[in-house]
């Protein structure tokens, strides 16, 4: 017992000793960030947040440090560790942080916190020092739905979701509404990969769902399922059909088979929050980023412009303008 205690103390001492000394002097703001599971290099969510940090470092001269938590639930300890050090603004990336960051923000009222994809729950008040960064994914999904509805030749479209939760239902309902708006005759097949977090990293399941949808005559599938969607792309390659990416431009995962991608500008939200904080304009509470704020959008560039005819592009831009003006209300579920 005693021996173990000694080992523990030594390990702790080493850990403390290794902790980086922070240079406060030149930084305009000290930002800490805890990544979602997956960490840097996920080619999606986390990488997007990281781009926001990098941009803020270059443009605004901030100092940042980040933590990549493992599979377990050390998210809270990561947040707490950063809050205990002299960081001014602390980010949690992903809806999984919602509970933990609320607790930690209450414990450190003089620090500022921000959480991407924060889940607002009735009865859980958001502390004034916590900014909940949310996206109107349904708006971006509406536009890619409209593209799919106009491009389809079979009038059958597919949707593959990851975990069956309200966050993903937003993608589904926006997509469906967009399809129906431009192509009321189209039918939409829906499949979810599961009911646990695993459903976001099960490409084999994604491939099977997609194969079954393509097998029933679907020619375009939109996925909102993390790396499960890589299986959807694989099925698209095999069936020579089309798929729509999500979160960031996924063209390079299956060049030639990606019609477009619904992009979520996590980088913009991170950057803007940092910028506001430096200007002393940090505001707690819910912030939403939609088409208007350039928080969501779709990809149209050199790679995919051959797949999207000019009149489709025109129609979709019209719809985009109408959503921004508030003439079209996009359903969330």
């Amino acid at each position: 017992m005693k021996k173990r205690l000694i080992i523990l103390v030594v390990v702790l001492a080493v850990m403390v000793g290794c902790a980086k000394r922070i240079e406060f002097a030149e930084a305009t703001l000290r930002v800490g960030l805890v990544f979602d599971v997956g960490g840097r290099g996920d080619k999606s969510f986390n990488d997007s947040a990281y781009r926001g940090l990098e941009k803020a470092k270059e443009d605004l001269g901030i100092y940042y440090e980040y933590i990549e938590p493992g599979e377990g639930s050390d998210r809270e300890s990561g947040l707490r560790m950063l809050a205990n050090q002299k960081f001014d603004l602390i980010f949690g990336i992903g809806f999984m942080f919602s509970d933990d960051i609320t607790h930690v923000a209450r414990e450190f009222p003089d620090k500022k916190f921000a959480c991407v994809d924060y889940t607002v729950q009735p009865g859980r008040e958001i502390p004034p020092n916590l900014a909940a960064l949310k996206f109107r994914e349904e708006e971006g999904s509406y536009l890619v739905g409209a593209i799919a509805g106009l491009v389809t030749k079979t009038n059958k479209l597919g949707f593959v979701g990851g975990m069956d939760i309200p966050l993903i239902h937003k993608f589904e309902s926006g997509y469906k509404a967009g399809v129906r708006r431009v192509n009321p005759k189209a039918t939409i097949l829906v499949g979810y990969a599961g009911v646990t977090g695993e459903a976001f990293k099960n490409p084999a399941k994604g491939k099977e769902i997609a194969l079954s949808q393509y097998g029933q005559g679907v020619d375009i599938i939109y996925h909102a399922s993390g790396s499960t969607g890589l299986g959807v792309f694989e099925a698209a390659r095999e069936k020579k059909a089309l798929a729509i990416g999500v979160d960031s431009d996924q063209y390079y995962e299956a060049p030639g088979f990606i019609l477009t991608s619904m992009i979520k500008r996590v980088d913009n939200s991170v950057y803007n929050t940092i910028k506001e904080t430096i200007a002393g304009q940090f505001k707690g509470g819910v912030h939403t980023f939609g088409l208007e704020e350039d928080g969501v959008g779709y990809v149209y560039d050199e790679n995919n412009k051959d797949l999207i005819p000019g009149e489709v592009r025109k129609k979709v831009e019209e719809l985009k303008a109408q959503i921004i003006k508030g003439e079209i209300g996009v359903p969330k579920e």
Binding site: V190, N202, K205, S212, S227, L230, E234
Partner: protein
């Protein structure tokens, strides 16, 4: 609805989903018939999947990937074997450690080689075989066009013969049932147990190769609980290769059914359908339908 369920798509889908379950559950059968519980199957599948992609990436040949997956599986199982046979440690704990170890090591090398925490680059896959005449029959074509499906079929038959019709199988089973008696008769208990665990590693690794080569890439955590489903299939199949295969196909069928019903828009909660296989496993374990009895010395280290 019934048309969709009994369609060809559905049948081939059932087979495709079942392949990793079949391979890993037969692997588990070998290991436990010899008396070593192997809940590290999940981690072995993951390591196998990763080795397959890594070797295919460096050689450009998916068969090298298959071989690497088998070797990777055997090496991972070797850790479990040494810990639980040589050092007689708790087999459950060693298995859990293998699972956690696999999650860490695959992610670590993924970052090192492919600079991503999510997925590898795209690699070559196994070829599709088109055999004249045979490929006219759709079902047969689905099986014979994919080398790994065909290989799995062969493994099922060979495993059954090995366990129940050969001296090796008899010795293996005796080590799982009554190692003292086997030892008295001159059977080297430790050797047999090593063999059982290493075969389980080879098979589960092969299951991993199926997963990643079918996707043409490795994705972080892509085993997705399949090792645990395989364990349930092994129990449901009462520790026999044919039983495990049947159970795996049933589990695969439930999953395929759930996918079909979802896209058909049938309003049965999908969670309910997904639950059925596990419910059946629990029923079998509680001996309501034909009791499932594990090998008597399963999980017990052998002390001379």
């Amino acid at each position: 609805m019934w048309q969709a369920i009994l369609s060809l798509v559905m049948i081939t889908q059932t087979i495709r989903i079942s392949i990793p379950y079949i391979l890993a559950s037969i692997g588990g059968t070998f290991s436990e018939r010899g008396g070593v519980i192997n809940i590290g199957l999940e981690g072995i599948i993951l390591n196998g999947a990763f080795c397959a992609v890594l070797a295919t990436w460096y050689t450009g040949n998916a068969w090298a990937g298959v071989l690497a997956a088998v070797i990777g599986g055997i090496l991972t199982a070797l850790i479990h074997a040494v810990v639980s046979i040589r050092y007689k440690a708790d087999q459950i704990i060693s298995g859990v450690a293998i699972n956690l170890f696999a999650v860490g090591i695959t992610k670590f090398i993924l970052k090192l080689v492919f600079h991503s925490s999510s997925n590898s680059e795209r690699v070559a896959g196994l070829p599709f075989w088109k055999i004249p005449l045979i490929s006219r029959i759709p079902i047969i074509d689905a099986i014979f066009s994919n080398p790994l499906i065909l290989l799995t079929l062969i493994i099922v038959v060979i495993s059954h013969i090995m366990i129940f019709r050969t001296p090796f199988g008899l010795r293996l089973r005796s080590c799982g049932e009554h190692p003292q008696a086997a030892d008295t008769l001159g059977v080297k208990v430790d050797h047999m147990r090593y063999a059982g665990v290493l075969i389980s590693g080879a098979l589960a690794g092969l299951g991993g190769a199926w997963l990643s080569l079918d996707q043409h890439q490795f994705t972080d955590g892509m085993s997705g609980g399949r090792g645990f489903i395989a364990l349930a299939a092994m129990i449901f199949g009462k520790w026999t290769p044919l039983g495990a295969t049947g159970a795996s196909l049933l589990f695969g069928f439930a999953e395929a059914l759930q996918i079909q019903l979802q896209s058909a828009g049938v309003k049965i909660p999908t969670q309910f359908i997904q639950m059925i296989p596990y419910l059946l496993t629990i029923v079998v374990l509680t001996s309501a339908i034909g009791r499932a009895v594990p090998p008597a010395a399963d999980g017990k280290p052998y002390e001379k």
